[in-house]
């Protein structure tokens, strides 16, 4: 973290603070005001986009801890979101559990499933682990379809309205506010997990796992912990996503979503909490742009053109970032900041 000159810490509290400068406080205040006034001016589709971005940010934070910091690349994140989503859906539709409790249980269940599919990570890494998580996604979605009595198979499950601690959520605006509060909380939690003993152990494992083990990092427990935390976030996001549509279905969590989640990390900057947020916004906005261009493209190319464009644009973005800015938007932003701090030198 680079600080402007003249900023220094006089106490441990100051040293540990997340926000160090006045400029940043002002920036965050403006950002908060902006985020929480979105429902006042935004159209319906923009509000949906903003809510989905919030939910995706929560899932991406989990993947950032798992992949960006612990170096365990998971291409099954969408599958773990599916576990969370279906757990929440089953609990709230079959047992009338309030949503907040269902979401917490969903997160825990997804975390435990994550540990189970994370077990191979003790023996394999790199490409082999990617393949194991790909297998995890397909096995999870197949199992969900098999337990028809519980999950309704391909028909999906309908959810009642969300019941949170202080009442029932009825409008889209209220849901947006709830998701935003949870997104901010998740961001703070994710940022702080990375500053704990476990977070430092994750980075040590990513940089060189053999060296980390020799230095006393227990690979077994920390790799599984990374999987647990990563899938905890995914499960919670899955529950939020299912509740947002009041409907749970396999189609909601396609395999390519895990690919885009990884792409968001690359575009934003692997390992950086703020980068994760930039990446999610960049990819989601690109996809929305492709969908918006759909009607005009439909006459030019073909009816499905928007679907194709929604795959091509983010794909190209990932390739371009890999080639020209492998550390993502976070690094570009850092460079810009350094430039104007040193200006005119």
């Amino acid at each position: 973290m680079s600080l402007p000159s003249g900023t220094f810490a006089q106490s441990y509290g100051q040293d540990m603070a997340l926000v160090r400068t006045k400029g940043k406080w002002v920036f965050f205040a403006i950002l908060l005001v902006f985020v929480f006034t979105i429902p006042q001016w935004a159209s319906n589709s923009t509000l949906t986009l903003a809510t989905v971005i919030g939910i995706t940010i929560i899932a991406a934070h989990g993947l950032n801890i798992l992949t960006g910091n612990c170096g365990l690349v998971s291409m099954g994140h969408s599958g773990f979101m599916m576990v969370g989503g279906y757990t929440a859906a089953i609990l709230s539709s079959k047992t009338a559990t309030p949503f907040w409790a269902a979401a917490l249980v969903a997160a825990l269940v997804a975390g435990v499933v994550g540990i189970i599919f994370g077990l191979p990570s003790l023996r394999i890494k790199g490409f082999y682990l990617i393949m194991a998580t790909v297998a995890a996604y397909f096995i999870i979605s197949w199992l969900i379809l098999q337990f028809r009595g519980l999950t309704n198979g391909t028909d999906g499950l309908t959810l009642p309205r969300a019941n949170v601690l202080f009442g029932t959520i009825t409008t889209k605006n209220q849901y947006f506010y709830m998701v935003m509060v949870l997104t901010i909380l998740a961001t703070i939690v994710a940022k702080n997990i990375l500053r704990t003993r476990a977070g430092r152990a994750f980075v040590a494992i990513r940089d060189n796992d053999l060296a980390a083990e020799v230095m006393g990092v227990n690979l077994f427990s920390y790799k599984l912990l990374a999987f647990f935390i990563g899938c905890l976030f995914a499960g919670f996001a899955g529950a939020l996503s299912v509740q947002f549509y009041s409907f749970a279905n396999i189609e909601q969590f396609p395999f390519f979503d895990s690919v885009w989640l990884l792409g968001m990390l690359i575009v934003g900057g692997m390992g950086s909490t703020s980068g994760t947020i930039y990446g999610v916004i960049a990819i989601k906005v690109l996809q929305q742009l492709a969908t918006k261009m759909g009607p005009s493209l439909a006459t030019l190319v073909n009816v499905q053109a928007a679907v194709g464009l929604a795959l091509i644009l983010p794909g190209l973005a990932i390739i371009l970032f890999l080639i020209f800015a492998p550390h993502g938007i976070a690094q570009i932003w850092e460079r810009v900041k350094n430039y104007y701090q040193l200006w005119p030198y």
Binding site: M75, F127, A135, I139, W260, G263, A305, G308, G315, I323
Partner: protein, 296 residues
Amino acid sequence: MTYFFQLVVTGLSLGMMYALIGIGFVIIFKCSQAFNIASGQIVMIGGYLAYTFLISYALPLWASIIAAIAVAIVLGLVIERLAVRPLLGQPVLSVVMMTIALAGVLDGVAIMGWGGEYLTYHKSLPNISLSIGSVSVPPSSLLGLIVSVIVVAILMFVFRFTKIGLAMRATAEDEQVTRSLGIKATTVYALVWVIACVVGVSGGVLLGGVSGVSPPLSDIGLKALAVVILGGLDSIGGAIVAGIILGILENLASGYLDPLMPSGGGLANVFPFIVMLLVLVIKPHGLFGLKRIERV
């Protein structure tokens, strides 16, 4: 018993498809240590190309195959030059992520270019069939078998007996030494991608002829990854053996176990992944793969 043999025979044809796609993957990995997750998408593009040349332009079979291969060569060169070469020297995972993004782009191109429709052209392929006793071998199996055998024979010949094959094997062994001996590694990489694309597209022409082309066809690329994991990432022979094993096992499993499943099964879609997970846990380097020892 006839049922069993029928399942084995259809499994064999599926397995040869897997093997063909797996070979494309293995060649790239062997020579440049890069993982190509977009192999399924290349297969799908091959199917669409065959449709375009055979049906839309109504070319004869041989001309369509030559045209499809020509496009495949261009595709391989473009991918290598624009996307893979700038990433030379980057960590392995960047190349994996690049091919994943490439998979998205190729999927998108197929949807933009061909409307993502389900297209068939099986009538344009030669109709040869064979029956042994009560078991009939479908034409697709025969074609798949013949094409795979030809492709594997050509590749084996190129690898063993030609100068460029020697260069490829040398690059696979140690890129830096190869460069210092005056072999252009970049040329080898370009050639490797071209070969992989040609193999993938010819697989796609066949597969599209058997089952029709649509974007979900590219899912076979993910299943073929199970084949390469089982066979060992850097073994061409392993890809063939594992392809046949998995193809037959998958067919047997869905033939015998699907009726026992509570909701219809669909075991064929998940079986390769279960095998893949088991192989990864028990024997990560596969049947014939080179075991690498890691040091700090």
